[in-house]
C-alpha cells in the first residue's frame, strides 16, 4: 500500500473529508459523553440504592414533570445544530463546482468503466491530478451500484437509466480504494479498484503515455453518423427533425406545452425513449435506440452533442 492509513483513522484525501470528519468526531464526543453519563448514573444508583444499603429512601418519588420537560428540551438545540451543520456540508457535497473536470463512469456487473473527456478509457482505475475538482457523471448498465471512495468520504449510488453525479477535489497524492458500496450480485465485493491521485507533473506524464486517442466527442460524432442520426438531424435532411447544434443547456419547448432544460438526462431520454418527451412542432418519428446503443457510445454521443453547444447555430 502506498498510503498505510493511520489506523483506525481513514486517510483524508479530499476537500470533503475534513468537513465530514469534524462532524463525525464532534458526534463521537457528544455521544460518548452521553453514554458515559447514563452508565455513570446507573452505576451510582446501583451501588447507592442496592437492597440493604443504608441510603435514605425518603421522598423517593420526586415530581417528574420538570425533569421530563428538561430532558426533552435539552437535546433539541444540540440536535438542531448538528443537523444544520451536516446538512450544509451535504448540500456542498451535492453541488459540483463550475469548471470541474468531467469524467464519465459506466458501471456494470462487476466492473467500473471510466471515460475521460479526451477519450482515454480505464477499467477499475481512475487517474486524476491533485488539486483539481472532478465531477463524475455516472450511469449503470444493469443494476444499482455505488461509487465509494472512503478516503474522499463520499459515495453515490449509480443507477440504471438515470445519470447521477459525484464530485470531489483530491488533496493528497496517493493510491486509494474504490469500492462498490451497493450490493449488486455475485462479485459485488470485488467490484472495486484504485483511484490514483497524482502530482500535476506525474499526471502530465501519464497523459503523454501511449497514443492519444480520439476525444470522447470525436468518437461520439462517429457514432452519430454510423447509427444514422445524421440522416434525420442534418441540416440538409429530407425528414423534418430538429437541429441539435447548441441545444445543450438551453430551454427546449415540448409538444405538450412544457419547457425543459436540455441536460444529460434529457438527451439520454430523447435517444432511448423518444416518445417520452417530443420536441414541439415535430412529428414523433424518431425510432428508439434502446438496445441499439451501448452506455459508452451513448456517453460519447452526448459528449458530441454537448460539444456542438459551442458552435454558432447556422441559419435554420
Amino acid at each position: 500500500m502506498n498510503n498505510p492509513s493511520s489506523f483506525p483513522f481513514p486517510e483524508q484525501a479530499s476537500n470533503l473529508a475534513p468537513g465530514v470528519d469534524w462532524i463525525f468526531y464532534t458526534l463521537t464526543a457528544l455521544c460518548g459523553a452521553m453514554t458515559l453519563l447514563v452508565v455513570a448514573l446507573i452505576t451510582l444508583f446501583c451501588v447507592r440504592y442496592r437492597r440493604g444499603s443504608r441510603a435514605s429512601r425518603a421522598n423517593a418519588n420526586p415530581r417528574s414533570l420538570p425533569w421530563e420537560v428538561g430532558w426533552t428540551l435539552l437535546p433539541l438545540p444540540i440536535f438542531l445544530a448538528i443537523f444544520f451543520w451536516a446538512a450544509k456540508t451535504y448540500f456542498r457535497m451535492s453541488r459540483p463546482p463550475k469548471g470541474a473536470m468531467e469524467i464519465n463512469v459506466v458501471a456494470k456487473q462487476w466492473m467500473w468503466k471510466i471515460q475521460h473527456s479526451d477519450g482515454r478509457r480505464e477499467i477499475n482505475e481512475l487517474h486524476i491530478p491533485v488539486g483539481r475538482a472532478v465531477k463524475l457523471v455516472m450511469i449503470s448498465q444493469d443494476v444499482i451500484h455505488d461509487f465509494y471512495v472512503p478516503a474522499f468520504r463520499t459515495k453515490q449510488d449509480v443507477l440504471p437509466g438515470r445519470y447521477t453525479t459525484e464530485w470531489f477535489t483530491p488533496t493528497k497524492p496517493g493510491k486509494y480504494h474504490l469500492f462498490c458500496a451497493q450490493y449488486c450480485g455475485l462479485d459485488h465485493a470485488i467490484m472495486g479498484g484504485w483511484i490514483y491521485v497524482m502530482m500535476p507533473a506525474d499526471y502530465a506524464q501519464w497523459l503523454a503515455q501511449g497514443q492519444p486517442p480520439d476525444s470522447l466527442a470525436a468518437r461520439g460524432e462517429r457514432v452519430f453518423y454510423t447509427l444514422g442520426c445524421s440522416g434525420c438531424h442534418a441540416a440538409n435532411s429530407k425528414i423534418r427533425a430538429p437541429l441539435l447544434d447548441g441545444i445543450y443547456g438551453k430551454p427546449a419547448p415540448l409538444s405538450d406545452g412544457t419547457i425543459v432544460t436540455v441536460d444529460d438526462q434529457y438527451l439520454r431520454d430523447s435517444i432511448l425513449l423518444p416518445n417520452k418527451q417530443i420536441a414541439a412542432g415535430y412529428e414523433p418519428v424518431m425510432p428508439t435506440f434502446q438496445n441499439r446503443i451501448s452506455e459508452e457510445d451513448l456517453t460519447a454521443v452526448i459528449a458530441y452533442l454537448k460539444s456542438l453547444g459551442s458552435v454558432e447555430r447556422n441559419d435554420p
Binding site: 444508583f45 440504592y49 440536535f79 451535492s94
Partner: protein, 551 residues
Amino acid sequence: MNTETRELPMTLEPRANYLNDGHSIRSWLLTTDHKRIGLLYMVSITLFFFVGGAAAAMMRLELLRPQGGLVTSALYNKLFTMHGVIMVWFFLIPSIPTVLGNFLVPLMIGARDVAFPRLNLVSWYLFIAGGASALWAIIAGGVDTGWTFYTPYSSTYANGHVLAMAAGIFIAGFGSIATGLNFIVTIHKMRAPGLTWFRLPLFIWTIYTTSLILVLATPVLAITLTLMALERLFGVGIFNPAMGGDPLLFQHLFWFYSHPAVYIMILPSMGVVSELIPCFSRKSIFGYNFIAYATISIGVFGFLVWGHHMFVSSQSVYAGMIFSILSFLVSIPSAIKVFNWTATLYKGSITFQTPMLYAFGFIGLFTIGGLTGLFLAALAVDVHLHDTYFVIAHFHYIMVGGAVMGYLGGLHFWWPKITGRLYCEWLAKLAAVTIFAGFNLTFFPQFILGFMGMPRRYPVYAPEFQVLNVLSTAGASILAIGYLLPLAYLLWSLRYGKPAGANPWKATGLEWKTSSPPPRDNFANAPVVTEEPYNYDAQAAELSLEENSHA
C-alpha cells in the same frame, strides 16, 4: 393491584393448568388458548433463531481472513440474505409480540383470552406457512438478493428462488396483521373493570403501538413484494428502468414499511424493560405518562423517516434534509425513555436477578445503538457511513443489543409464570454476562470498520480490515455460547427446576395474581383493578429486610 384470588399452594402437578389441559399433539396444534399459542410461537421462533444464527456464524468464519476461502461468494451472498430474512421476519418481528405478547396481554389486562382466539391460531399457521416457504427457498438453492430485495437486481437479474422467499414473507405478513388486529381489539375491549388506559402496564402500551404499526405498515410490504413479483414474473415495468420503471420507487415503498418495522422490533423490548426496572428496584416507574406518550410518538414519527435510508440514492437534496431532521426528532422520545428508566433507579431498593441484568444490558446497548443512529441521520456523515459496517453495527446494537436483550430479559422474567418452574440463577447470570460481553466484542469493532470504509456484504475485503474482523469473529463465538446456554438451562428447568409459586419476584401486575402456570381460563375469579400500576414500595422493602435480619 387488588384481586380476590386465594393463596395457592406451592405444588405443581395435581392442579389443573393450561399445560396439563390435554397432552395430545392435537390439543396443541388446534388450541385456541393464547398461552399455548404463545408457546407454539416460542418453539418456532427459537428454531428460526438458530437457523439464522448458523448463517451468521458461517459468515463470521468466512470473514476471519481477507481473502475468505471458506465459502464461495455465491454462497456468502445467500447466507447474508438468509440471515437477514430469517432474523427480521421470522425471529425479531414476531419475537416479543407473538411469544410474550400472546402469553401476557390477556393475563395483564385480566381477560380470559384474546378477542379472537381462533384468528390467533390462524396467525400461527400463516407464520408457519410463510416460514416453510422461506425455508424451502433456502433449501432449494437459496436467494442472493439481500433481505432488502433492491430492484432491478431482485426483479430482473437475480437467479434463485426470489419468489418463494418473497411469498414466505408475504404470507407471514398476514399472520402479523391478524396478530396486530387481535391485540388492538383485545386491549380496547377486554380490560378488567378498573383497568383504565393509564393504569395499563407499559408493556401493554408498547404492544398496542406495535400492533398499530403491524396493521398499518405490513400491507405496504405486501404490496411492494407483489409489485416486485409482477415485474419478475410477467415483465411489468414498475421498478426496472429498462422497462420504463423507477428503481427508487421500490426503495421508497420498501423503507416505508421497513423503517417502522425497526420500531416493531424495539418497542416491545422497551415495554419489557419498563416492567423489569420497577420490579427489581421496588419503585414505581418514573414518568409513566411520558413513557406512554413517548411510545405512541415513536410509533407515529417512525412512519415519517424512511428516506434516511436513501441519502445517497439520488433522492432530492431537500427531501434528504426533511428526512434528516425528522430522524433527529424521533430520537428524542427514545432518549426520554432512557432517562426515565435511569431515574426509576433513584432511591430504589435494587436487586440484581437475571432479568434485571438483561434490563441493564438493554439500556446500555440501546443507548449506544440509538446514539450512533444520530451519526447516520446527519446527512454528510451518512454519505460516508452508508452501506458500511457502521450501519451493520448500529442496527445490531438496536436489534440484537436492544430487541434480543429485551426478549431474553422478558423470557427470564416470565419463565416462572409460563412454566411454573425456576431456572438455575447463577447459570442464567453467567449467560447474561457472556452475551453482553460477546455482543460488544462482536459489534463494537464494526463501528470502526465502517468508519474506515469497509462496505457491507463483502465476503472478501482489503487486508487492513482484518484485525477488527478477527476481533468481531472472536466476539461472535462468545456470543454463540451465550445464546446456547439459556437453551440448555431453560430446557433443564422444565423438568428439574424448583416450583416457582405464583409470584417469585413479588411483582405487581395481574399476571402475578394467578397461579403459575395459570389455569386454562387465566383467573379463578375475574380480577378488579383498584390501584395504579407498579405499586412498589422501596422503603417497605428495606424495612422488611431489616425486620427479617433482626428477627
